[in-house]
């Protein structure tokens, strides 16, 4: 049986990858996908912990998080599309009018 720590390590790596993605990607879509990666890292951790506790709550929580992620995708894509329509770009670095 794979020990919980391994899952956690994987989850940590995923989370870190997501973070790095958020920091380095310029396209809104890619940034957003990186966030999804972070969410999945959380899901992985939840499942791993649920298994180690032998408790189903964690697994149900994963479903809820997945739902939330889906909702987030819906809204996020809508916003990104709206912006793309107007500006023909989704480069987040082009959106820096509000500052100071």
């Amino acid at each position: 049986m794979v020990p919980t720590t391994s899952y956690l390590a994987l989850s940590g790596i995923l989370f870190a990858l997501g973070m790095i993605g958020v920091l380095t990607r310029r396209t809104a879509i890619m940034v957003f996908l990186s966030v999804e990666l972070m969410l999945n890292a959380a899901n992985l951790a939840l499942v791993a912990f649920a298994r180690s506790w032998g408790d189903p709550t964690g697994q149900t929580a994963v479903f809820i998080v997945m739902t939330l992620a889906a909702a987030e995708v819906a809204i996020g894509l809508a916003i990104i599309v709206a912006i793309f329509r107007k500006r023909e770009t989704t480069n987040v670095d082009d959106l820096a009018a509000l500052k100071g």
Binding site: L23, L95, A96, L98, K99
Partner: protein, 641 residues
Amino acid sequence: MDSLPALYLLPLLPLLGFTILMVLPRLFPDKTGGWLATGMVGVAFVIAVIRYLNQGAAPAHEVLWAWLPNMALNANLSVGFWLDQLSALMALIITGVGFLIHLYSISYMGHDPKFTRFFAFLNFFVAMMLILVLADSYPLMFVGWEGVGMASYLLIGFWFSGRNSEASDAQVRAASDAEAVSNSNAARKAFIMNRIGDLGFMLGMFLLFKLYGTLSIPELAERVEGAQVAQAGIELACLFLLVGAVGKSGQLPLTTWLPDAMAGPTPVSALIHAATMVTAGVYLVARSHFLYDLAPNASLWVAWAGGLTALYGALSALNQSDIKKILAYSTVSQLGYMFLAVGLHAYSAGVFHLLTHAFFKALLFLAAGAVIHALHEEQDVRKMGGLHKFMPFTHLVSVAGVLAIAGIPVWSGFFSKDAILASAYEQNTALYLIGLGVALLTAFYMGRWYFLVWRGAYRGHGHPHEADTLTKIPLGVLAALATLAGFLNIPTFLGGKHAFDDYIGRAVPLHAHEIPVSTEWLLTVFAVLAGVIGLGWAFLAHRRGALATGPLGAVSSNALYLDALYDGVIGNPSRAVAGALDTVDRGTDDALSGVARNASGPGGLFTLWQSGFVRAYAVSMLLGTAGIIGYWALKTIGSGA
């Protein structure tokens, strides 16, 4: 005793006069204001006389209401008046001479547009002076002390905008404007220099309170004898009081304001800057005799301050050309005599000289005023001369004054000066020699004054006229007093009974002479000789026509450059320091605003940080997270290891 008028009436009456004249000047057209003021002082004089005549052996002490917190022995200090021989005498001088000078001023100031206000101020002065001498505690004395300073300020600056400020002639106007500035400066200088002295006075009071726990004079006098107090404390307190006295009386080193004070109208010079106010320092020392008796060193300081000032004043008077300035330096010098006397614990001699000086110096000033009036505000003695032909009466009284101040026998100055010189001889030869020398110089410069003004040919342009009757009355009375007052205190070796000494001796301790009669005669001869030689010297110079410039030249006419010295050493540096501090203060301000700016500097940094790039925000967010987690991780590892 109940039927006697209360002591508070003495200052109250002139104060009432002041208030009425200030608040309702319109009720007093023409010269009625002057008469009201004169009347007030006259009534005060009558009260003073009544109180003098009914004086018992014990001093009268009339207490009014609580005034200053905790400054009496375990109680609040009250306002109270104290009438003993010393203060009774002073009250008589003040109201008497004050009355005469008021009378004189009605004529002298008759044409001044601010006639009524002048009398209000004079009344104010008399009231404050009476408070000064009648006070039963040092703080109350201080009220009068600063009050007379205020009155002096107001009166020196009486012509604060010049006497022709609205003249149409440009030249006259310019001269008037210059006069305005110098009058104002003189008034301010007098007040500030007095304040320096006042600080000394205050410190003296603080120290006395620390030593004895009270500031009431009777209580102090009682406690001083039995109290176990460090000698240094008493000496220091006496020195502090000396600073106060020196400031008020124009003694070295705070002397330079007094000659400048002559910018005021002449009656003011007579009353305030000759007869009464400036003698307050002498009065203070005499009043505090119970302290000075215990403080030999401080007393010696007093005597030396007096001796040196006497010399300084005499030297400065030698080559003055302003008719009032000569008298002013003479006043400085004569006050020096009084200090010399009281410093040597010869209180009676000092106070006696105070009395005679009040008469003859007031007389001389008033006579000078009459001359100035007659010559249409001309004050330069070099443009006078031969006035005895035009003003015989004034001439006559002036002769009396000159003889009195020169110390020629039978005139009052002879007796009082002689007593001082005798005490000096007995105790301190150096001071005696100074005193004798000053007597000679005094006779000379007063002779110079006399010959330049009254003798020789008239050198001016105007048409001098004799003074009017109203002016003559005070002149006559004062001349009589200046001539005869000496007989109040004929010394024993001349067959007298020391009437004055006996009287004043009930308030201040007497120190009987212990010099042989022969020596005393010798001293008298020396003193008279000094006077005669001085006058003779002046006469000879007059015959040579060499009086216009006195000895010592510019050194004397610039009063030994003391003013310039003060300006250079104190005045200018303190102005510079003020400027520097102002800059520093704006600097502190700038520095603090600078701190504020720097505090908002990070604000600028933060707005830079707020770059608008969403990824930059993500960086700080996620780095923040990473930082926190990293911190926790390190801590966990640290505690685990």
